[in-house]
């Protein structure tokens, strides 16, 4: 492997680098347009957003408002048409090469010929982690997503929700400082979903990772986030950024299932809902409800 990039190295590099206090993601005046047969699609327009290191930010908004596009730009899978975008003070490309983020896509995207364990091990394998270390890490991750017994199964033998959990484990494999997650819990049942949410909050707190999290569920966004970014479509814009004031939980470690029943939780849910509807209704289309994710784009 000529281009193995041990994660420890990249972390050390940025520590010694000048900018120790760089934001995880810094976006200034970002535009993204797609050239299509029927004309130009303004997927994102004038996006300004800062995600601090260790901060949990959710993106919410109706289907097609550019959430996935923004995530792909941060992940350097696509390039902005104009504007600035830095990840830990570096260009998105450099951050990708340095393996500064882990990503879970809207679809699981597992390799069908690899077992569950081998799928989770893939990034570790590509970056030359020794096989003994790899095995313990994979075992830990599978334990966390509750799939220990399924380690030797193949993806086609799992349900959609289980596949998604494997993908989440894979995105966490290298303990990235930034997690990009595009509706990762969309395919999960409510019970598993709540459990994964609680786990994710804990993992993010433990590792101090910043998270950019796309979701269609308002309660999910409220429960997880430090701030909720509300977006509106055509063109994709940020219409509101709402800080979550959940008295129950100043530190994120303290977010647990009790919080779901706290009154401050419901206040925040209401606030986000109003922002969503308000943001959408000042456009041409009067108050389209934030559709819950069915779009598979």
């Amino acid at each position: 492997m000529s281009d193995q990039i041990p994660t420890t190295t990249s972390a050390a590099e940025t520590m010694t680098g000048a900018a120790g206090a760089d934001a995880a993601v810094e976006v200034r005046g970002l535009n993204k347009q797609f050239q299509t047969a029927s004309g130009i699609v303004h997927a994102l327009e004038g996006i300004d957003l800062t995600v601090e290191a260790g901060e949990f930010v959710s993106l919410i908004g109706p289907s097609g408002c550019g959430k996935s596009t923004l995530m792909r730009l941060i992940a350097d899978l696509d390039v902005p048409t104009s504007g600035e975008l830095t990840v830990f003070g570096k260009t998105a490309t450099q951050a990708r090469l340095d393996q500064d983020y882990g990503i879970a896509f809207q679809q699981a995207g597992l390799l069908p010929w690899r077992t569950v364990a081998a799928n989770v091990a893939l990034p570790l394998e590509l970056h030359g982690v020794a096989s003994a270390a790899r095995r313990t890490r994979v075992a830990d991750l599978l334990e966390m997503v509750g799939l220990t017994e399924f380690a030797d199964r193949f993806p086609d033998q799992l349900s959609g929700g289980m596949q998604q959990r494997v993908a989440i484990a894979r995105s966490l494999a290298e303990q990235p400082r930034l997690l990009l997650m595009d509706e990762p819990f969309g395919a999960l049942d409510e019970m598993t979903r709540e459990k994964m949410q609680t786990d994710l909050v804990r993992i993010a707190a433990d590792t101090g990772a910043a998270v950019v999290f796309v979701t269609h569920s308002i309660p999910e966004a409220v429960f997880l986030s430090d701030r909720v970014v509300v977006m509106s479509p055509r063109p994709g814009r940020i219409s509101d950024i709402i800080p979550m004031r959940l008295d129950a939980a100043e530190g994120r470690e303290e977010r647990d299932d009790d919080l779901r029943e706290a009154s401050s939780f419901f206040e925040m849910v209401t606030e986000v809902r109003e922002a969503l509807h308000g943001g959408a209704s000042d456009g041409e289309n009067p108050a389209p409800r934030a559709a819950r994710g069915v779009d598979t784009r």
């Binding site: 000529s2 390799l111 394998e125 590509l126």
Partner: protein, 317 residues
């Protein structure tokens, strides 16, 4: 964490129970079923053969001047048991002559070796072409049309010319052998389906998988080894099978047209020439050729069995 354990149990309780039993068996049942069908097919053909020979008119079935079904004389259609007993008898009346089956087997083995060499060359050339074309779009535009056109040149018809070219090749101590001309023609027929199949396979990974490897900053080689090649297997296997069949046909026909001694192609012609005196003998090499084809196809099928995990899809079955 406790919640995990619980729902794990729930899933575990349902899944392995109906899987360990259900997954292993269908494959075996299918294999067994395929075997039965194969035997049934052979028996059916034998029945039709002997049935027609028994009931059909000596002179065959004619419509006007046109014979639409063959004569049923022993000369044109020997009894199956005659063919089989003939296999056990010596080839010629000369002393110490090998039994027919052994001669056929030796010849088949030689042809199989030549076809395998041709197939191997075809695989290497085909995969290299596919790798080049996958890596560089420009190579695809530049090469693919020529590769397609190459197949319109019936090299097999020029076999004698290929042989005479070959006989002029002499590099140091290396001397071109006649069998190499035959292998070359076999590889020429084999590489085409392999090129096309491999290219399609290498290009087959979904965008999401390619992008995943991008996010890992994986370069060309890691992506090739861990993504593109495994993803190509389902496309490669049928291509390899087709290539094997082409290599066998190419080898047999090229043997005939270059007049190479010792292979099954030569034997087919030679014994067919003796058919008026010994009609059953001509069928020996025909059986040999059939077995040869089966062995070639079977070897690739074996390869497919070894690589079975690479033929899975992402979706639940």
């Amino acid at each position: 964490m406790t919640a995990t354990r619980n729902d794990q149990r729930g899933e575990v309780a349902v899944r392995p129970a109906n899987q360990s039993g259900a997954v292993a068996n269908p494959a075996r049942t299918r294999l067994f079923g395929g075997f039965l069908w194969g035997i049934a097919g052979v028996v059916l053909i034998a029945l039709i053969w002997e049935g027609y020979k028994f009931f059909g008119p000596d002179n065959g079935v004619l419509i006007g001047e046109l014979r639409v079904l063959p004569r049923t004389t022993d000369l044109a259609m020997p009894h199956l048991w005659d063919m089989l007993t003939r296999l056990a008898e010596p080839v010629t009346r000369a002393d110490g002559a090998l039994p027919l089956w052994a001669v056929v087997a030796l010849a088949s083995l030689m042809t199989l070796g030549i076809a395998a060499a041709g197939w191997a060359v075809g695989v290497i050339v085909g995969v290299v072409f596919a790798l080049l074309m996958q890596r560089w779009r420009l190579a695809e535009f530049g090469l693919l049309p020529w590769i397609v056109i190459s197949q319109t040149v019936p090299l097999i018809a020029f076999a004698p010319i290929v042989k005479s070219w070959g006989s002029r090749v002499e590099i140091g101590s290396f001397e071109w052998q006649d069998w190499m001309s035959v292998a070359l023609i076999a590889s020429y027929l084999a590489f085409f389906p392999i090129t096309v199949g491999a290219l399609k396979g290498l290009q087959s990974p979904d965008r999401i998988h390619v992008e995943l490897f991008d996010t890992y900053a994986a370069g060309y080689w890691p992506t090739l080894v861990r993504l593109r090649l495994p993803a190509a297997v389902p496309y490669l296997l049928p291509a390899l099978r087709l290539g094997a069949a082409n290599a066998v046909i190419g080898a047999v026909v090229a043997e005939v047209s270059t007049g190479l001694q010792g292979g099954i192609g030569r034997l087919l012609i030679q014994f067919a020439g003796q058919a008026s005196g010994d009609p059953s003998k001509a069928w020996g090499p025909i059986f040999g050729a059939i077995v040869l084809g089966l062995v070639a196809a079977g070897s690739v099928a074996l390869l497919g069995m070894i690589l079975k995990d690479y033929r899975r899809t992402e979706e639940a079955a």
